[in-house]
Structure formats: C-alpha cells, structure tokens
C-alpha cells in the first residue's frame, strides 16, 4: 500500500473503530445517500416570510445601513 493509501486507510479505520461499524452497513449508507440526495432545507428566516415587497424594502434598508447607494430600476 502506498503511503497516501496507508494514511487514508488509517484514518478511515480509526473512525470506523470509534463508531463500532464496518463501513459496509446498508442502513448507514442509505441514510447518507438520502441526506445528500434530498438535501433537506433548513429553517427559513422569519424576516423572509413577508411579502416580496416587504422583503425588497428590507434588503434596501440593510444595503443602505452598510453604506450602499441603492437605486431601483423600473425596467430591465
């Protein structure tokens, strides 16, 4: 085994030993695959749960508070 492969094997086997798993368990693999595939959404911020217009006003206010000059364009 090359040195890099040894390092990899060492770390992964230590992690598996600590968790008392073989790494081949189907349920664990399924859980990981599921989370990566579904990537469940986190909590939406309360202040985003307003009307779109209110959100835009909030964004403008926050930009202004950081010193930005904000201009609204009426047409693209």
């Amino acid at each position: 085994m090359s040195a890099p492969d040894q390092g990899r094997a060492a770390v992964l086997s230590r992690v598996r030993a600590a968790l008392v798993v073989s790494g081949a368990e189907g349920t664990r693999a399924a859980a990981v695959e599921d989370r990566l595939r579904r990537h469940p959404r986190g909590t939406i911020p309360a202040r985003a749960l307003q009307s779109p217009e209110a959100c835009i006003e909030l964004l403008e206010a926050m930009l202004a508070s950081q010193g930005a000059k904000v201009t609204r364009a009426t047409t693209p």
């Binding site: 890099p4 390092g7 990899r8 060492a10 770390v11 992964l12 230590r14 992690v15 598996r16 030993a17 600590a18 968790l19 008392v20 798993v21 790494g23 664990r28 693999a29 859980a31 990981v32 989370r35 990566l36 990537h39 469940p40 959404r41 986190g42 909590t43 911020p45 309360a46």
Partner: protein, 480 residues
C-alpha cells in the same frame, strides 16, 4: 501539540495566569474586547427569532454527520476528485506537515501565503516549511501581526485581541522594512493601509496558498472559509496551488447544512450577521475560468479526533470554532488566551487541549473553571462544556493525579460527609471555634490553612452554633 510559545504550555497555566492578572495593558484590552463581543452577540441573537431552532438543527446535523463520519469523508473525497482536486488523509500532525511540504516542493514553492488556519498552527506547519527554506506569509491581519511578533494567537478568531494599536504600530515600524521611519502609524486606518500594501506583494508573488476550512461540504466537495478581510480569497485564488488543511470533523453533508451553521457562526463569535466574505472553493480552475488555482489539494487531519469519536468527548467535535465561549468566560475574560499555554484557550480549549495533548499535560485547563455555565449557554452547537470539563476532572481523579494535599482534603471531607453523626459533631466543634477566633469583627483577614482565600479576600466567620445544633436545641426546648 504546538503550544502558545516555546516557554508556555498548559503546564505553566498558573504562572501564565499570574502574569496576565498583573498585566495592566492586557487587562484593559480584555475589558474592551469582551464587552464588545458579548453585547454584539446578544444583539444579533435578539434580532434572529429562529436562533434557538437553528441551534437545535445545527446540533442534529453535526451529530448525524459524526455518526456517519467515515461515509461522509468518502463521499466528500469522491466529490473533490470529481471536481478536479485531490484529497490526502493525515492520521497525525507529522503526516500532515510532510504532505504539505511535499506538495509545496512539488510546486517549486518559494513563497506560501496563508489564510488563518488554527489547524495549521496545531501541526506546527509554518516552522516546518520555513526549515525547508520556504517563506511563509500569514495574510490575516491578526496572524500577520503575531507572525512578526513571534507569538501565538490569544483567541481563536481574533488573534491579537490582547494588543492595542500602539503596540501594533511599534511592531510594524520594526518589521516592515524599507518604509520611511516617519510614516503615520497612529490610526487603525494607517495600520490597515500599510498591512494591505505589504501583504499585497505577497499575495501576488505566492506560489502556493494554504487555507483552513470552517466547513467542508460532502455534497459538492467544497471548502468554505469566512473572513472579514478577503485575504482568504486572495490566498485561494491567486497562487497556482491551493492547499486546504482541515480536521476531519469539519465535514457537513450539504450546502443547506453548511448554511445553517454559517447563520450561527458569525453571530455567535462577533455578533455579525455574516462575515464580509464567505468563500466557497470547489476544485481547481475549470476550463474557461478566468482565474483560480491550477491545482486544489485537501489535507484531512485526524490528530486525535477519531479518538474523541464514539467516546465521552464526542460532543466536542461539534465545535465550529466561533469563539463565543471564550468571549463569555469569566476566566478567559480575566487572564486572556496566552495564559492557557495552548493554541486552544478558554472553555473549548479546556476540553479540547487535554484530548489532543493528554490530561497529564493540561490538567489546569479543565480545572480552572467555576462551572458558571455561560459557555454552554452561548455555544451555538449546544456543547455541554462544563460537563466535559468535569469528565476530564474525573479522569484525572481516577488516575490519582491531582495534588496530594487536595486529594487528602477532599477525602477527609467526603469521609465526614458520608457519616452524618461525625459530620455534625465536627460542625458543632468547628463553628463556635471559628466564631470565637474571629471575635467581634465577624470575619478573618487571615486564617491558617485558608491562606488561599484570605490572601485576597476576608473570610466571614460562622455565626456560632451550627443550624442542626440550634434546631435540635429549639425542638428540645419546645417539646419541654
């Protein structure tokens, strides 16, 4: 493990603390800074109604990831390779140093720029590269300052919190060669402008850029860093080789998971809703990209983390290095970071340092706590820090290591406390004796065997009789 400096380590904690308490400049710096962070964090939290919910979610994400860490490491590795990068696993600090040096030599590196990385300091990377003739330039302003001072950071997110701007101006005057001696260095703006100019040369000339990672994302193979200076971006993007060095518990499953944690990180540490720069790096430059490194390598460090996994200290692996616990700790707030003699000070350091360096070498750290619990209260990852410190005390006690006098006193006390009759008899003897000794003053300015207390504080005397003695007396006279 790399300590604070050559002459300080966790074993010199008491001396370090004494020095810190006597250092008026440090005390002033600590006063300003901790108040700022504490007030700002409270404000940030009050403006985020979902803070507690995010905290619970973040904890669940990390616990789930740790339970499946082997699989997430493999998934992450696959994605990094897919995006054109490479992953190296380093079981120990020595392995990690060698891998990074090999990569730098392979790139013909003469100059390396670095974003702030606690892990790189943990493994003593800079000294290793410099010994091989490679120049290392820290680009985070705080890290740059401690590099020119030859010091260790005193805080995990604000390395020079212990300094004032006059001290920094002196350091710049001394270390930034080739600049006019009379140049203005009086204001923060002057200092920042000079640092920018000095560092800009390094950014552009660097062959290799090394950063840490606040988070590694398994879903995309990305590394994420947060900075307020943008130095991380320049470190990652300009050189032809970007090396990420991160410990294995930095992995989270998805970008959503990363964002949940990011929403807590800056708010908890500095009170910012988000840092000025939050940078995602995924692999080297792709065909058609105008810039970016040609190669992207990730070094994943174990160095004791796998030993914490599945054991009593697993919860500590949830730590996202925000610094909130340091900011709110009354002990850190009076002695600062250097006194701990460890790269990781404060409450999180009190738990992590013994795990990495061994409890024999870091005994004072988990012991120097009043268990006030503020750290646990503000930790965004709900880490039960006082309980973990207590576990270290238990391990220490089981090995028979605390000082003999302390163990003896404790054993005597416990012997009595388990025997009510004896305990009460002793109390009945001692309380009136002490009351009499104190006399009309009602307190002791000094007392044999109590010098640790009476050295700096008076000790109030007992009222006279014990409660149990008085209660029994009153019952007897009532029943008569």
């Amino acid at each position: 493990m790399a300590g604070a400096s050559e002459d300080s380590s966790p074993q010199t904690f008491k001396q370090g603390a004494a020095r810190a308490l006597a250092d008026a400049k440090l005390q002033r710096a600590l006063l300003n800074v901790k108040r700022g962070f504490i007030v700002k964090r409270a404000l940030a939290r009050s403006k985020l109604p979902e803070f507690d919910r995010l905290r619970a979610e973040a904890r669940t994400i990390k616990d789930h990831t740790l339970q499946h860490l082997d699989l997430y490491l493999e998934a992450y590795e696959r994605k990094v390779i897919e995006s054109g990068g490479q992953v190296h696993f380093a079981p120990t600090a020595g392995h990690a140093r060698d891998i990074v040096l090999r990569l730098c030599k392979g790139a013909g590196a003469k100059l390396v720029t670095k974003g702030k990385s606690m892990v790189s300091e943990e493994i003593g990377l800079n000294a290793h590269l410099e010994a091989a003739g490679i120049e290392v330039a820290e680009t985070d302003l705080g890290e740059h300052i401690i590099q020119i001072r030859g010091e260790a950071p005193s805080h995990i997110i604000a390395p020079v919190i212990h300094l004032n701007k006059e001290e920094i101006a002196e350091d710049f005057a001394r270390a930034h060669g080739g600049l006019p001696k009379e140049r203005p260095l009086g204001s923060v703006q002057d200092l920042v402008a000079e640092a920018r100019a000095v560092l800009r040369e390094k950014f552009i000339a660097a062959d290799v850029g090394i950063t840490g990672a606040n988070l590694l994302v398994a879903e995309t193979g990305s590394s994420i860093i947060v900075t307020n200076e943008g130095n991380g971006d320049l470190t990652e993007t300009l050189p032809r080789l970007h090396i990420v060095i991160a410990s294995i518990e930095k992995i989270v499953p998805t970008l959503e998971d990363a964002c949940t944690i990011l929403r807590l990180l800056a708010r908890s540490g500095t009170g910012q809703e988000i840092t000025s720069y939050t940078t995602f790096a995924t692999g080297p430059r792709r065909r058609g990209d105008p810039d970016g490194p040609r190669s992207y390598h990730v070094v994943l460090l174990d160095n004791g983390r796998s030993e914490m996994l599945g054991g009593d200290f697993q919860d500590m692996l949830r730590c996202i290095r925000c610094g909130a616990c340091l900011n709110h700790c009354p002990v850190y707030g009076t002695i600062g970071g250097h006194a701990y003699g460890s790269l990781y000070p404060g409450p999180m350091g009190a738990v992590l340092t013994p795990a990495l360096a061994g409890i024999d070498h870091a005994r004072d750290l988990p012991n120097a706590s009043s268990f006030c619990g503020r750290c646990e209260e503000v930790c965004p990852m709900a880490i039960p820090l006082p309980s973990l410190m207590r576990k270290w005390r238990e391990r220490d006690f089981e090995r028979g290591d605390p000082p003999l006098a302390q163990r003896f006193a404790l054993k005597l006390w416990a012997f009595a406390a388990k025997r009510p009759l004896l305990y009460h008899a002793l109390g009945r003897a001692v309380a009136p004796l002490l009351a009499r000794l104190a006399g009309a003053q009602g307190r002791f300015r000094s007392l044999p065997f109590a010098g640790a207390w009476t050295g700096t504080r008076d000790l109030p005397a007992p009222e006279g009789k014990t409660f149990h003695a008085l209660y029994a007396e009153r019952r007897r006279s009532r029943d008569r």
